[in-house]
Every structure is written in structure tokens, then in C-alpha cells.
Amino acid sequence: MALPSYASPLEKIWHYLYLVICALIFLFLIAPILIVVPLSFNAEPYFTFTEKMLSLDPTGYSMRWYDLLLTFGMENPEAPRDASWWADAWANAAWINAAKNSVIIGFFATILATFLGTLAALGLSRPEMPFRRTIMAILISPMIVPLIITATGLFFFYSSTGLANTYIGIIMAHATLGIPFVIITVTATLVGFDHSLTRAAASLGADPTTTFFKITMPLILPGVISGALFAFVTSFDEVVVVLFVAAHDQQTIPRQMWNGIREQISPAILSVATILVVISIALLTTVELLRRRSEKLRGVSPG
């Protein structure tokens, strides 16, 4: 994007203006996500920077909202913080229980989506697959169809089959929503797959199972893990289906946030948001590393 030497003064001005515009757009993209981090350490129950925070006075900052995440819902939050206090927090704190539910649902939904999705992606990327286009369109559609429609349909279906208010129901629904991501990432990995490798393995006497686990699996593993992470994030962030089909005591982190924002938004929400931002940074880093590894393995482009 270097400026050519023949550029006229007007073009030079435009070039720098363009870079400024791009910087502003990047700011628009990233600032809303980072702004919650300092605000979550606010000592006051406000959503803006106080005088003390701006002058970097340590008393303007506190961990009180993170503390509230632990104590909210506990039976005896005032007790001394020994082992029994932590046991109380683990058993009763509302946000901890929501986190447990989110992780349980996310874990099983991810396993289900990754297993079924990878298997299907292997089939879909074979050249002899019949009705490829139609089947692909059906399998991707949970990502395209508005969540409110899926949730409405699941509400009718689950209330007539007794799956409403069950963990299995939510896990199945979340797996369905995660499947398109698994299919997209795994088929993308399989596009550059060199099929002569499996043929070579077969000619050297490996049976199909051995070939799959020794040759195919290690090569597509980065794609499978990325897909699994996508599926997990989809489930971890999903609230509409949970609102429609889950029981009242089946709280998840996004549902708890949803309730918090609707009823009485408190800076405690910002501390949850900060934790989630940190998690998403960790996930993004993992996926980027995996992508580079996969590209190196397959010898595509240098990252």
C-alpha cells in the first residue's frame, strides 16, 4: 500500500486521509470491546470514567464487581473467607452456577457437533457425494435461519416430546447450531487435502481405519479443533434458544447477562463481559495458531 512516487499532492493528501479513516474504523471495531475492561474496575456504580479513574488514583479502582460475581446468591457471603466460604460460593453463587451450566452444555454440544460434523464433512468433500449441494444447504441452514424461528420451532417440538426443560434438549439444539461452523471449517481444511497420501497408505498395506487415524486425522486435526472451538463459542454465547426451551433454574452465563441487562444493569455485568473478552482473546489466539499450523502442514500459503 506504499504511495507511488508519481502521486500528485492531492493524491498524497487523500492517501493519508484514507489511512486516518481506516484507523477510525478499526477504532470503531475494537474500542467498544476494550472499553468494558477498565470500566469493570470502577469503584463507583457508574458506567463512565470517574474523576479519580481519569487521574489514575488507585482508590478510583476496585475489584468490588468481581467480588460481587462470587458473592451474589451465596448463603453467607459475610463469613470469613475460608474453605467453607469457598464451598458456599461454589455451590450457591448464581454466576458460578450459570458458568457450570454453560460449560456442561457447551462441552457436550461441542462433542456432538464435532463428531457428527467432521464425519459429514469427510463425506461431503468426496467427489462422488450425491446431492452434495442440497445436503450442504440443509446442513448450513441452522446458521442462516434466524434464531428466533429455530427457537420457536424447538419450543413447539420440545413441548410435544417432553424435551423441554431438559439438558439433553438444550445440548441437542446447541449442537445443531454449532454444526454449520464445524462443517465449514473442516471442509475448508479438506479442500487442499492431497488424496494421493491416503492412496499411498493403502498401497503400503494400511486398512482404511489405520489410514484414517494415521494419515487423514493428523492432517485435518487443526481444522477439526477450530471447528470445535467455533461450536463451543456458539453454544457458550447462545441465549435465545435457552430462553425458549430451558427451565427457570437452568441459568447460563448469557441468560444471566440477558436478565441483568434487561432488569437492572450493574457494573457486575461489565466484569463478566471482561472475563468473556479475555476468553475470546484466548480462543482467537488458539484458532490463529491452529490455522497457521494447518497451512504449514499442508504447505499452502505462508502465514
Binding site: 500500500m1 484514507y18 479513516i21 481506516c22 474504523i25 478499526f26 471495531l29 475494537i30 467498544p32 470491546i33 472499553i35 468494558v36 470500566l39 458506567f47 470514567f49 456432538l112 457428527l116 463425506g123 461431503l124 468426496r126 462422488e128 457425494m129 450425491p130 445436503i135 444447504a137 440443509i138 448450513i140 441452514s141 441452522p142 442462516i144 435461519v145 434466524p146 434464531l147 428466533i148 424461528i149 420457536t152 420451532g153 413447539f156 417440538f157 449442537a175 465449514i184 467455533f230 457458550f236 454465547d237 441465549v239 425458549f244 447477562m257 440477558w258 441487562i261 434487561r262 444493569i265 461489565l270 463481559a273 473478552v277 475470546s280 482473546i281 482467537l284 490455522r291 505462508p302 502465514g303
Partner: protein
């Protein structure tokens, strides 16, 4: 040609000149069989997932579609304890079958109505019936519950007795509504979802001006989605271009700024916008501090349409940047340089040479953002106030608050139809295989 085939499979030439495999089968048949086997193998890998998606996705959607034409509220009642289905208003439905639409209700009709009301009250189904007719003619729920209380003690002539209880029963609109509610399936909920209703003679007419909300909301949803798509294009194009023209090392770093929002929870991003835009929030504080606006006139940027547009533009921007980027990256910069060397100004070179090459990306990103925006629910619900609500929010309202599930299903089906049409278009123009995530 023959040599190549012979090399691929051990063949022998049979006496009649046709190619066969080593065990004597015709080569063509053996090849077809092998291909069929491969086909089956590929298909069996997909079958488990296909079945799973049918059960957890297609069947529920089908059930929703059937709910949108479900009309049973007026004529059947499901007992919560025993699970039995009890027919309601049997005599009245018989009368409707025997008489043409628009017939003046006679004594027999009123007798059937009285019996039906008394029976429904007896099994506690009267609320359901009243609610069903109330969807068509508003304010009639109490008419049903009120009259049913007296129905048991009524004596012939029933017409007088019922009209004594409430004169409103003479209203032909109520009779038309009961007639249409007696049919097994109905399109009335679709009519309602399109702000239409039936008059006393069964003709389709528009509802009153002040009750017509749905078409307006569909319009608003599509207009706002188009606006948001345009905003993401205006913001996404420059940065996609920058990312595509920088060396990979740099662009990969900047790409993280696009991908991080993509990976961050939707609720976190929505919360951030509430924090930033509310009247005591960071943006207003900045503007007051810089003297642009006065402390008393803080701008209302959230809980209205502006809030919905800003937050959704931010949330959907990565879906525009990623397809644009993947189209712009392979564009050869020498085309623009050639145009310049042939005397084009930089603007002409951009407009006539570069822009046309990015059209596939604009189409792919635009369609994707539009499809996603049309069905958005969470963000408008949290930051939209009343003027920023979209059609999804109304579906949720009918599901959770007004409990008119059939109307919710009809609205959802219409939205689904629109989305599937756009999805089909996307598949035609872009191809779902080209959908990329980061």
C-alpha cells in the same frame, strides 16, 4: 484410451470384443458398481448428521409451520390431567356446515351456541374459546366468559335468552369469526400477520389503521437491514482494501482487530454499546467535556432506532469485511497500475478497474449481512427501545407475552420464507461452499 483403461484395471478382451475385468464381468458394469459403492460410502458418512439435523431442526420448523395454520382452539380441548382431546361446539359446527356463510343465525344456531358455551364452561375450556375469537374480533373474550356463566340456566327461546345476556351476539362479525374458527385449518393467522381480516361476509379486508402493525414492522425490518448493510459496506470497504493491499505480515496483525469482535460474545458487544451510548455514558461525557454539546442536552443514542443501527452495524461488520477481503486479496495490483499508465486518473482507475473486480465480494458480504440482520433479535430487544424493534421481537412478544402462538408461527413462517429466498439467492450467486470464517 484402451491402454489407459487396461492399466487401471486388469482387463481381458472377451471374444465378442467387449472389455471385461479379470473375473469376466463387463468393465462398464464393474466400474458403475464401484462408483455406486463409493457414492454409498460418502452418503453413509453424512447420514448420521442429516438424521440429527432433521430431528432437531427440520421437524421443529415443520411443527412451527403446522402451528401457523392450526385452528383447533375453538373446537377441541386437551384435558391437562388425562391428556384426552374433547371436541367443543359440536352442534354449532354442525349448523355452520348446513348453512351458507352469511346466513342470519336462527333459533337452532343460538340453541347450539348456548349448549356449546355451557359445555365449554363445564370443562373449563371457555377461556381458550374466548381467546381464539378475541384474535379476530377484539374485546370479545369477556363476551364468551360472561355469557357462558348464564348459559346453563338458559331456556328456550335461546335467541332471546342469549341476546338478553348480551346484545353483542347479534354482531354478524362474531358469527363470521366463529364460522372461520370452526374449520380444520385456517389461513386467518397469515391474514392477521399481513394486517388483513375477514368482514361479516367473509371478504378479506384491511384492518383499521391503528391496529395495522405487522406490515409496518416488516417494512421497518427490511429498511433497517438494508441501511445496516449499506453502513457495513461503507465502513467495511476501506479496511478490507487496506487489509488486502498490505503485506501479509501486517495484514494478519490488523485482521485480529476484525476477528476479535467476531469471537466476542454478542451480549458483551451489546452491553458495551449500552455503556458507551447511554445518556450518562462515555460518548456523551466526551462530547460534553469537549464542549460540543451542553450537559443539559445529552443525546439520546440508545434505546431507540439509532441504538439498534449503531450496535448492529458494529456486530455485523466482520461478516462484510471477511468476504470482501477474500475477494480483494487475489486482485492483481498491476491492473490498476496499467490503467494509470494508460492515462487514467486514480479515481477513474479505481472506479473502472478496481471496483468492478470487487463486486462478487460486495454481493457476498451484502447478502450475508442482510440475511443475518433481518432475523436479529437480541440486540434490538436490548438496545432498540420501542422504535428500534424488528419483526423477531414481535414474534418473541407473541410467543412469551400475548401467547398467540399461531400468530407468532405465522409471522415466523413469513420471515422464514423471506430468509430462505435470500439464502437460495446467496447459494446461486455466491455458493455456500465459499462461506468462510476468518
Amino acid at each position: 484410451m484402451t491402454d489407459a483403461v487396461a492399466a487401471a484395471a486388469p482387463t481381458t478382451r472377451a471374444t465378442d470384443g467387449r472389455l471385461t475385468t479379470a473375473d469376466g464381468k463387463p468393465l462398464k458394469a464393474a466400474l458403475a458398481r464401484a462408483q455406486a459403492r463409493n457414492k454409498r460410502r460418502a452418503f453413509f458418512l453424512v447420514v448420521p448428521l442429516l438424521l440429527f439435523v432433521v430431528v432437531t431442526f427440520l421437524v421443529p420448523i415443520g411443527q412451527m409451520l403446522s402451528m401457523s395454520v392450526n385452528n383447533s382452539a375453538f373446537y377441541s380441548w386437551k384435558d391437562r390431567d388425562t391428556g384426552d382431546t374433547i371436541p367443543l361446539m359440536v352442534d354449532l359446527r354442525g349448523w355452520f356446515n348446513e348453512n351458507e356463510p352469511g346466513t342470519e343465525p336462527d333459533e337452532a344456531a343460538y340453541a347450539a351456541l348456548a349448549a356449546g358455551l355451557a359445555h365449554a364452561r363445564d370443562i373449563k375450556a371457555i377461556g381458550q374459546i374466548g381467546t381464539r375469537i378475541n384474535y379476530e374480533v377484539s374485546g370479545t373474550r369477556s363476551l364468551f366468559t360472561g355469557t357462558s356463566r348464564k348459559a346453563e340456566r338458559m331456556e328456550p327461546p335461546y335467541k332471546e335468552a342469549i341476546l338478553d345476556a348480551d346484545e353483542e351476539w347479534a354482531d354478524p362479525e362474531i358469527w363470521a369469526a366463529m364460522r372461520s374458527a370452526s374449520k380444520a385449518f385456517t389461513l386467518d393467522f397469515y391474514l392477521a400477520a399481513l394486517d388483513r381480516t375477514r368482514d361479516a361476509d367473509g371478504n378479506i379486508v384491511k384492518v383499521d389503521e391503528e391496529r395495522a402493525v405487522y406490515i409496518l414492522l416488516f417494512q421497518r425490518t427490511f429498511v433497517l437491514s438494508a441501511l445496516i448493510t449499506l453502513m457495513t459496506l461503507i465502513l467495511g470497504f476501506p479496511i478490507a482494501h487496506l487489509l488486502a493491499t498490505l503485506p501479509l505480515r501486517h495484514s494478519n496483525l490488523l485482521m485480529i482487530l476484525v476477528l476479535l469482535p467476531f469471537w466476542t460474545s454478542l451480549l458483551v458487544r451489546t452491553t458495551s454499546w449500552i455503556v458507551l451510548l447511554q445518556s450518562q455514558g462515555v460518548v456523551n461525557d466526551l462530547w460534553v467535556a469537549s464542549g460540543l454539546i451542553d450537559d443539559g442536552n445529552r443525546l439520546q443514542m440508545i434505546y431507540n432506532r439509532t441504538g439498534t443501527i449503531i450496535a448492529m452495524t458494529h456486530i455485523l461488520l466482520p461478516f462484510m469485511v471477511l468476504p470482501l477481503y477474500s475477494v480483494m486479496r487475489p486482485i492483481d495490483p498491476s491492473y490498476v497500475r496499467a490503467a494509470r499508465s494508460l492515462g487514467a486518473t486514480s479515481w477513474t482507475a479505481f472506479r473502472r478497474v478496481y471496483l468492478p473486480q470487487t463486486v462478487p465480494g460486495i454481493g457476498a458480504g451484502g447478502l450475508l449481512v442482510f440475511i443475518l440482520a433481518v432475523g436479529y433479535y437480541i440486540t434490538p430487544a436490548l438496545v432498540g427501545g420501542s422504535s428500534g424493534q424488528l419483526i423477531s421481537n414481535l414474534i418473541a412478544f407473541h410467543m412469551q407475552k400475548s401467547l398467540n402462538w399461531s400468530l407468532a408461527a405465522a409471522l415466523a413462517s413469513l420471515l422464514l420464507g423471506a430468509v430462505l429466498l435470500l439464502y437460495w439467492l446467496y447459494d446461486r450467486l455466491v455458493g455456500i461452499d465459499n462461506l468462510k470464517l476468518g
